[in-house]
Each structure stands twice: as structure tokens, then as C-alpha cells.
Amino acid sequence: MQMSSQRKQRGLKTTGGLLVFLWTDRGSFAQRLNCTVAAAGPWCAGVEMQALHPDLKNSLFPCVWSCPELDPEELSAFTDLYGPLRFLLTFQAKDAGHCMSKWQAHIEAFLRAFSLTNAGIKVHLKFTFGQQTVQHELRVKIKSKVSPTDQLPLILDVACSAQPPWCVRRRGWCQGGHPVVGERLPLSIPPQVMDQGLFGELSVQFVALLRPCVLQYPNLLTELTRIQVLTYSPSNIPVPGPFNFFKGLPAALNCQQLGLDRIHCASFKDLTHSSSVVYSVEPENWEDPDPEPSHVPVQQSLLLFLFLHHSDPFTSEVNDTIAAEMLIEHHLEEILSNNRQAVSAALEAELYNTLKAQNHRKKKQEKLQSAAEVILSSTISIVSSSSNMDFRNACLNRMKVNDTHELSASLRESLWRVTSGKFLHSGKCFSSEVEEQPKSNESTRVEI
């Protein structure tokens, strides 16, 4: 947070590396969890480590103990990549020895959420428990720069690993998403939070990221099935979502207007430590509960980022900024509850904008499907009633079928495939080639 604040203040670059190393040692009574956080690169340029240490220790106490410094050999690989360390802190977590795996999961989730909106910073995570060492590098495959009004640009990780649907052949499938900057909503600070010392202007900037991207496939049917809400502090650090507020959010949304049957919170447990809240979405009037595999819509998930923004003309020192952010984080539930109606309306608007595109696709699909039925029936009508054997055989041979019954099925499948898979190149998509499906080599068939 400190480095982010300093960086924000100086408008510095957002690239570099962050190392989080967790390891255990056996103390006199129990296993203890040690943690080293190291940073290097332009993103923390100008950080004065010695000046920060006393403040850090004060803010971390009484949760941690000091512990011996890490062996420099452990950091050599990191410094080789990113240059000399700008920041290094090692501490021992109290009472963490009995739930290592839980800590590991929390830290990993936190760092993933961090990496989502700080995609320029490469995050290295290393765990050494006993003899076992596990290392991760949170790789960001695709980044996208977002520039909200009056704010520093954000570098988001927009990569999406969703597999393309079956009808996508030989064409580029966008491997990323395209963030959409939404509304910036002013938030009023509740009196009790002001009493704690939080003043100035507070607002929340919404950014929506829908994945996978199907912009290049205008006829593909889509279905929003998952919404994940992530909240970030003014320093762009993930903060735990306020549990009660987000739990009650679905009830505040007008699902009917959104064309949805219901939205319900899918991730109840561990919300207090989780940086995100996940909702599952069920569409309205699910007419075909068991569609053909080829007609299943592409399932999309929506990432809704809530970037908190705070400014106070009477705050200029880093310590004051950090104090304000800690107040915001600590009282986030109260702040959002104080602005419940406005925040719910803004979230509903973001959802509505996302679903507008989906509903538009659905209407287009209905038109195409209706036309396809007529095209197929008219074509088969002519082929079936023709007495021209050359013509009939040519049609059957083209589609490699035996009779008009098979021809009808084959034409239907082909028309659906070419229509759904219609591709319109978009310069802003992150396309890759998809492997072509192998074609069969069957002999010519003649109708008897």
C-alpha cells in the first residue's frame, strides 16, 4: 500500500516484480510461519525503505514478530530479473503455524486479485514447508490499459482461458477481454466514520470486464452465468468485500428488468478474507433445458471492479494517506451500506449494459433461426420435388449424404455452424489461430 501510494503520488511506472516468500521453521513449541516480501523495479522506484520500516512495524504490530532475515541466496534469482531490491521486509506471523494451507490459499487469492489490476507487476510466490518448495509466477498473458477520468491509468490482466466453442474454426478466438469503464459514483462518508478521522471526497469507479470476448463472433449466443465483484482500495490493493452488503445485493437488483431469473451469492464462506464475491446467474425462461451440444450458448463471466478513490486536500504525507485507506478498508461495510441505493443502482446499471449486448444477440439469433428454417425447408422442397437426377445427385454429393433426409440434417447443421461461427475481425481483439478440424474423405454417394 505504501509503495502504491508513493507510486500514485509520483505517477511512476507500474512495472517490476513482487516476491512473497512463505516458509516455516520449527520453534520451541510449534511450527512458525515466516514471511518475506520483496519488491524491485520501476514500480517502487523512489521508495525509501529505511524511512518506511518504523511505520510498517507499527502498523503490523501486534500481529507479527521479527525474525531473522532471509538468506540472500533465496533472493538472487529475483534480483537477477528485476534489479536491486527497493523494498524488503521479513516477519513472522503469530499463531499462523496451525493453519498453513489456509494462509497459503488466502495469500494466493490475494495476490491473484492484486495481479488482476496491477498486471504490469510480476508476482512471484514461493512456499517452503518442511522439505517441500512450491513456486508460482502469476503470469499475465494479456494486459489492457484502462484510463478512468481523473485517475491514473490501470493495467488490468484481461486474459481468458475459456476454450472456444465447436463452431469456431480456422479463425481467431479472442483470448482476452475488453474492460469497459463505467460510472464513477460519489460516496458519502457516514458520520461515524468521519468521527474516526476519514474526511475528503470518496467515490467508487466501476469497471466491467466480460469474458470470454465474442465481439468477433456477432452471431454466437451468450449467457452470463457468473458475476465476480472485486473491490480495490485507492492504492489499487484488493480489499475484502463487505460481507453483509454484497450478500444482500441480489435482493436489491431488479432481476425482471435484467431478464434474469435470479442471482445468488455462490461464495458464502470465507468472505471475510476473500477479495471477491461470486454470484451465479440463472437466465429467465430457460426454454430448452437440454439443448443440443452444438447449440449451447457461450457461458460468460463478468468481473466487476470497484475501484475506490479518495482525495483529501489536507492530506499530503504518505502516512496520512495510508491511515485514510485503512479507515476506508475497515469501515467499507458502513460506507457502502450508507450509499446502498446508489451503489445498488450503479451495479444494476453495469449489469444492464452487459446484458443489453447479450439480449441483443438473442434477438439476432432468433431472427437467424427463423430465417434458417425457411431457407432449409425451401431448399429441401426443391431438391425433393426435382426430377433432375443430375441436380439431386450433385446436391447429395456436395454434402456427402445418401438421401434427402440426411441432406436436410446435414444442411441444417452446416447452416447453424456457418451462421454461429460468422467471424468479423476486430482490431482490438487478442486473437489466436484455432486448429482446423480434420475433414473426412468419403466417397461419392448417389441417391438410389
Binding site: K364, A371, T379, S385, S386, N388, C395, S414
Partner: protein, 393 residues
């Protein structure tokens, strides 16, 4: 004496007839009736099958089928020949109807549906009207206009006249005068009676045994004028003659009928239209054809049509009362400018002069304005004198 009066009345018309016949190289023998080399049933089915095979071939290659239609509203596809009129000479400008695009998929489907209907009609040698096709699936077609337009698109795409596709349309035109003929089903039509006007046949190509001693045919723009002439017994006073109206912009059957009369009788064909840009344009459709139907110009146009009246110069010459004259609107002026730029105007200097006069005076008039001179002026004075003294351009 009576015979002498009649000879005098038609002397100019007879001379005109001789001129016309010599200029187009047509003899006085009537043209053989019946099919003018129309494509056979098998050929039509084959052309439709070719379209379907194209669609199947596209799908076999995992490509979305596309129908390519010549753009019937583009001047880029049209050239002018003074012997034919406006004819489609190229397909530079085309419209692609895609099956995978939501905005055009419906039209693609409509075209396929109508093709399948036509296929069955031709196969079974039966007929249907455009109205029948519309009511076959009103949800698909939405409006009669879309069926009408697609029928013409299909006719242009297959290069087959609509009548050969076994789709008929109810005619809106009317005909009266010295004319008898047989419909395809053997019905005898006699247009002599002035009390009962005959609708133009919906199956012009089926008409046979045309009998007429008419000296001329007069195309009347408006139904109101047509009825007025009938009420005034014009066909008796100026007998023998034929009157026909398309009630405004003529439909295909009205145009085919005029063409049929020219091909069969080889008598002068005059146009009586309002002295306004709209009337002039209607007259040009009969004479030179339209851009939309240019692909069928050979069977629709009658380049020999003469402009009898109401001429802009008549308004001055006859001193039509000013209160009967109407100022040109912006739209009129725009249409007049457009007409003056048409490729066929250069071969009609007299028409050009009349239109430029209208441009200068900035007034227009309906045929009914002649009633301001005298109620019977049109039938008793204006038209007889025009015909007697060659007052056409």
C-alpha cells in the same frame, strides 16, 4: 362527306404511322402472336436449381450462402438505346443478400420461399397471384410490397419474365375502344362498350386473336381523365381508337398491354398526361421504361410513344386561366431537373424544349384545367384539333 371528314381527321395520324413503321423497319403485317421466344419450363426449373445448388455448395464448403442480385435501382447498371429505351446492360452494381447476417437473413429466406413456390407452380403448370404468395405466409413476408419487390428481383436474377414464372398480378389498368381479343382461357373480350370498361388482362402473353381497326392508341395518365373521356363518348367521336389508362404509374400488365398493341397494330401511340413533372415521368415509363424494370425493357417499352398533351406550350397558347395554373413545388423542380438529365432526353429535343419552358414558367397544370376554358373543351376541341393537326411532339 363523313368519310372525307374522317380521312381529314386522321390524315396526320396516318402519315405518322407510315413514318413510324419505316423508322423502326416494321412491316404492316402483324407480328405472330404467342410466346416471343420465352424460356421453356425446363429452363426455368434449371435456373432455380442452379441457385439451390449454389447454396448447397456454399454450405458444403462451410461458407454462408449469399445471393447476388443486380441492383435494380442503380443507374450504373442501365444504358440507353433509342430503339429500346432504358435497358440493363451490366451488373456492375449488385446487392449481396447474406444468410448469416440478421439484417438480410429474412430477405434471403423470403427469396428462397418464393423460389420454392415458383418451382412448384412451373412444375405443375399452375398459376398463382402475388397476393396468393403473400397470404401463403404473411408472417414471413410482412407486407405485399416485399413480395412484389422480391418477385421482380427473382425475375431479374433468373433473367426470366415474371409471367413465365407463373406468378400473375391483378391489373389496375383499364382499356376501352375499338378492340376485341381472346384471353388464354378462350374468354372473348370486347372493349367497344363505353358503359362497361374492361380491366387490363392479367395474362397479357396469353392474349390472342386481337382484332382492331383503331387508328391510334391513347394512353391516359389518370383514371379521372379516362372516365371523363368515356363519359364524353370520346371513343365514338374519335372512332376508331383505343383508350388505356394505368391509373398513374403503370403496372407491368398495363405496360405489357401497350407494348402488345404496338406490336400487333403498329398504330401511333399517344400519351395524354398532366403538364407536370410527375405526368412527364409516367409518360417516359411507357416510352423508355424504368430503371427498376430495365432488365425486361425489350418487352415493356414503346419508344414510339408521342406526347400529345397537355404540353406546357399549350398552357400559353390556349391562355389557360392563371387560377388553373399551379406553381411548381421544390419537389417538382427537383424531379424536372432530374428528368432533364435523363439519357433519353437528348434524342427528344422537342420534349426538352417543353420541359425547359416549364422550368422557366415555374407552373404546372392538370388536364382538368382545360375545363376552365370550357367544360367540353378537352373532348370537343383540344383533343380533336391536336389529332387533326398533328399537335404532338
Amino acid at each position: 362527306m363523313m368519310a372525307s371528314c374522317g380521312e381529314q381527321l386522321f390524315s396526320e395520324i396516318d402519315q405518322l404511322r407510315v413514318q413510324l413503321l419505316s423508322s423502326v423497319g416494321v412491316t404492316t403485317e402483324s407480328q405472330p402472336e404467342g410466346a416471343e421466344g420465352e424460356i421453356c419450363q425446363g429452363g426455368i426449373l434449371s435456373r432455380i436449381e442452379s441457385v439451390i445448388l449454389g447454396i448447397v455448395t456454399s454450405l458444403s464448403k462451410d461458407k454462408a450462402p449469399v445471393l447476388v442480385l443486380p441492383n435494380r435501382s442503380s443507374w450504373a447498371n442501365v444504358s440507353f438505346d433509342c430503339a429500346i429505351g432504358l435497358q440493363m446492360s451490366s451488373e456492375h452494381s449488385v446487392t449481396s443478400i447474406k444468410s448469416d447476417c440478421p439484417s438480410s437473413a429474412a430477405k434471403f429466406a423470403q427469396i428462397l420461399k418464393i423460389l420454392s413456390v415458383i418451382y412448384k407452380l412451373v412444375q405443375s403448370n399452375s398459376y398463382a397471384t402475388k397476393r396468393d404468395i403473400y397470404y401463403n405466409d404473411t408472417q414471413l413476408f410482412v407486407s405485399q410490397r416485399s413480395v412484389d419487390s422480391i418477385m421482380d428481383d427473382i425475375s431479374c436474377m433468373l433473367k426470366v419474365p415474371r409471367r413465365s414464372l407463373h406468378v400473375l398480378s391483378t391489373s389496375k389498368g383499364l382499356i376501352s375502344g375499338d378492340l376485341c381479343y381472346l384471353e388464354e382461357d378462350g374468354t372473348r373480350i370486347d372493349c367497344h362498350s363505353s358503359s362497361a370498361v374492361v380491366p387490363v388482362s392479367s395474362n397479357i402473353s396469353g392474349i390472342r386473336n386481337i382484332v382492331s381497326s383503331a387508328k391510334f392508341v391513347m394512353i391516359v395518365e389518370k383514371d379521372a381523365t379516362f372516365q371523363r373521356l368515356l363519359d364524353d363518348d370520346f371513343c365514338t367521336k374519335l372512332s376508331p381508337c383505343i383508350l388505356i389508362t394505368g391509373k398513374g404509374v403503370p403496372d407491368l400488365n398495363s405496360r405489357l398491354m401497350v407494348r402488345k398493341l404496338w406490336d400487333t397494330l403498329h398504330v401511333p401511340i399517344f400519351a395524354l398526361v398532366d403538364a407536370d413533372p410527375h405526368g412527364i415521368e409516367i409518360m417516359c415509363i411507357y416510352k423508355y421504361g424504368s430503371v427498376a424494370m430495365s432488365f425486361e425493357a425489350h418487352s415493356l417499352t414503346v419508344p414510339s410513344v408521342m406526347w400529345l398533351g397537355l404540353l406546357p406550350s399549350d398552357l400559353q397558347r390556349l391562355r389557360v386561366p392563371e387560377e388553373s395554373l399551379i406553381p411548381l413545388t421544390k419537389r417538382d423542380e427537383s424531379k424536372l431537373n432530374s428528368l432533364l438529365k435523363r439519357p433519353y432526353l437528348s434524342s427528344q429535343p422537342e420534349w426538352q424544349k417543353e420541359m425547359e419552358l416549364m422550368q422557366q414558367t415555374k407552373v404546372k397544370a392538370e388536364i382538368q384545367s382545360l375545363a376552365a376554358i370550357d367544360p367540353d373543351f378537352l373532348t370537343n376541341i383540344y383533343l380533336p384539333n391536336k389529332l387533326r393537326y398533328g399537335g404532338w411532339v
